[in-house]
């Protein structure tokens, strides 16, 4: 993917036009740090925020839980975007890491009775390590071949989970239960729940906001990384390793750490997913979910900051809202539509939705400038 649809250098730090050379020979230049954010963007973000916050109060609990699940996909997709979109390491095995995160968190809660937050963070750490370990051989295996290896990992992961069924519960699934106060007033092992501490807030709504917070945090952190010196080095390694090395980027280290971070995000997403579902099965973590992460990244816009979240939400809406409306017989249409969509995107809009948005914006800017120029010429 050689097109980055996001100029990594923050466009808000755009230096002003021509340099002024004062008569005394000193090179002073005013660099405007002003953020030229369009008022329309601010309005859009406010609308989005209002909708996102209001939704859980308008919808039924099971819908709210579904949206929580979408957020876990979004977090994992953010990680995949870093790895594949920005750093060019094609991974079709992200679902396996998502699964590792889910089972790590689940087992920690069950076996060690760890608090949920600790379980989630532990899943992140474990997946970081696994990601680094996977990243090591990935140094020597690139492009299509890396896709092949990760495809094999993704295909074999659920089978491995089934095999180690003494640990994972195999096909019977892993029930994540914690000790909670039952409705009758005594302590019982119940499916894991994020119990709401507030009167007016239902459990599912509380979970929704916690997950939302987690997603926003991950989004901000990845955004910081992308727009930084390190983010530039990721893109440099993707597009031209020699150029990166010559400029002092430690290529191998960068690739490995990026694999770790991308995997850590998958792990966090997986842990939250496990908590949301309460019971996980190997069939949740097949090659199919790896593919769906790629869909989220690509539809939203690979190598864009917010694309993966958009893609994850859109995929969620499509998968959980639109498709279930179809009769049972037509359920496989989901796969067909996604398949066609992927192919169509690569042919017509490789930059995903964000890419389309940016090029439309650019075209409108050019059109405006052309109009202004011709107006000037006419005057």
């Amino acid at each position: 993917m050689t097109e980055s649809t996001d100029s990594v250098s923050s466009s808000d730090r755009s230096p002003a036009g021509p340099s002024q050379s004062p008569a005394d020979g000193s090179t002073a230049r005013t660099v405007t740090r002003a953020r030229r954010v369009h008022p329309a963007t601010i309005v859009a973000w406010i609308v989005v925020a209002v909708v996102v916050i209001a939704l859980p109060f308008q919808l039924q609990a099971f819908r709210v839980n579904q949206m929580s699940a979408w957020m876990t996909i979004a977090i994992a997709a953010l990680g995949l975007n870093l790895l594949t979109g920005f750093n060019g390491q094609i991974s079709v095995g992200h679902g396996a890491l998502f699964g590792v995160g889910a089972y790590t968190a689940g087992l920690m809660i069950i076996k060690v009775h760890s608090p949920l937050l600790v379980a989630v963070l532990a899943a992140g750490v474990v997946c970081f390590i696994v990601g680094v370990l996977v990243g090591l051989p990935a140094l020597r295996i690139r492009g299509l071949y890396l896709a092949l290896v990760t495809l094999a990992v993704a295909t074999l992961f659920p089978l491995a989970v089934e095999q180690f069924n003494s640990l994972t519960g195999g096909n019977r699934g892993l029930e994540i239960r914690t000790e909670q106060m039952s409705s009758r007033g005594f302590m019982k092992m119940l499916p894991v729940r994020l119990a709401s501490p507030f009167e007016g807030l239902a459990d599912d709504q509380w979970q929704y906001f916690l997950f939302l917070a987690a997603t926003v945090i991950c989004l901000l952190l990845t955004r910081n990384l992308i727009k930084s010196r390190v983010g530039r080095s990721l893109v440099a390694v993707r597009d031209n390793e020699t150029a990166a090395a010559v400029s002092g980027v430690p290529v191998a280290q960068t690739k490995i750490i990026t694999f770790g971070i991308g995997s850590a995000l998958a792990g966090i997403g997986g842990a939250l997913f496990a908590i949301d579902l309460g019971q996980i099965y190997p069939s949740s973590f097949t090659i199919v979910i790896s593919i769906y992460f790629l869909v989220a990244v690509v539809v939203g816009g690979a190598a864009s900051t917010v694309g993966p979240v958009i893609g994850a939400v859109l995929y969620g809406v499509f998968s959980d809202v639109v498709i279930p409306e179809l009769p049972d017989r037509l359920q496989p249409a989901r796969a067909v539509i996604l398949g066609v969509l992927l192919i169509f995107l690569m042919l017509a809009a490789p930059g995903g939705l964000v890419g389309v948005f940016k090029s439309t914006k650019a075209k409108m800017t050019i059109r405006k400038a052309a109009k202004a120029a011709s107006a000037n010429a006419a005057a």
């Binding site: 079709v92 051989p137 491995a160 090659i287 796969a335 066609v340 192919i343 042919l347």
Partner: protein
Amino acid sequence: MKDFLQILIVGIGDGSVYAMLGLGLVVIFRSTGVLNFAQGEIAMFSTFVVWTIHDLGVPMWLAVIGGMAGGFIIGAIIHEVAVRPVGDPHQKPLAVVIVTIGLFLGVNGAAQLIWGTVDRRFDPLFGSGSVNVAGVPIAWQKIGAMVVLGAIAFLFFVVFQKTKLGLAMRAVASNSESAGLVGIPVPRLLMLGWGFAAAVGTVAGVFTTSVLGGLGPNLMQLTLIFGFAAITLGGFDSLVGAIVGGLIVGVLTSTLPRYVEQFEKMPLAPAFILILLVLLIRPQGLFGKKDVTRV
């Protein structure tokens, strides 16, 4: 010992099927540079076509031929419509991977839409009987797989080495730009390559159906991994490698779980470990050409 021989023969028989899929993968890789992750699904789809034709009353052999023809057309169309417009896999590896994955999803979903998820059955091409060789019972079907692989390999040999068409295809695989410049209709031949691969894949699908005992949408998902293991071992651009690799993978997959305790629980591990080891240690495999990059 008798046990071992039987397992060995089963492995070679299974390996022949992997080799068939591998041959298709190699043809596609050599001509278009693509690792076709959807190869298994296309093969599965064409196998369903075989079943449909057979279900109409056509004898199995003819149905297979019909399915192969159908697969050929499907493969050619897929290349023309979805693969060629995307561009060079070296320039845009992610786009190509996404497209093949899209095909994976789409073809699988289409098969489910058309035929549903209930397993279909048809009789094994070579019957369910077995023959006694030196006291070891060997299924005719396994022998049949080897024979068919041999026939396909022979056909490939004849076409690629002895015909003008084959020469043109080799030219395109070697240097498509030059081939175009001397008047070879490159796009048409690339389409042919994908068509051939799909046709051969159909045969692999038919054999896999009898191995698995039924035809369903997930038919080829594991065979695909074995096919890729075969060509990784053999060399991504080597037809001979696909055959040798396939047979070796088949033998490893049938013998290791029996005789090595660690693999008993994970019969698929050998394939994956093989892919990983080859790519790390000797990426060009047994018979492939080494990739050289210029700085």
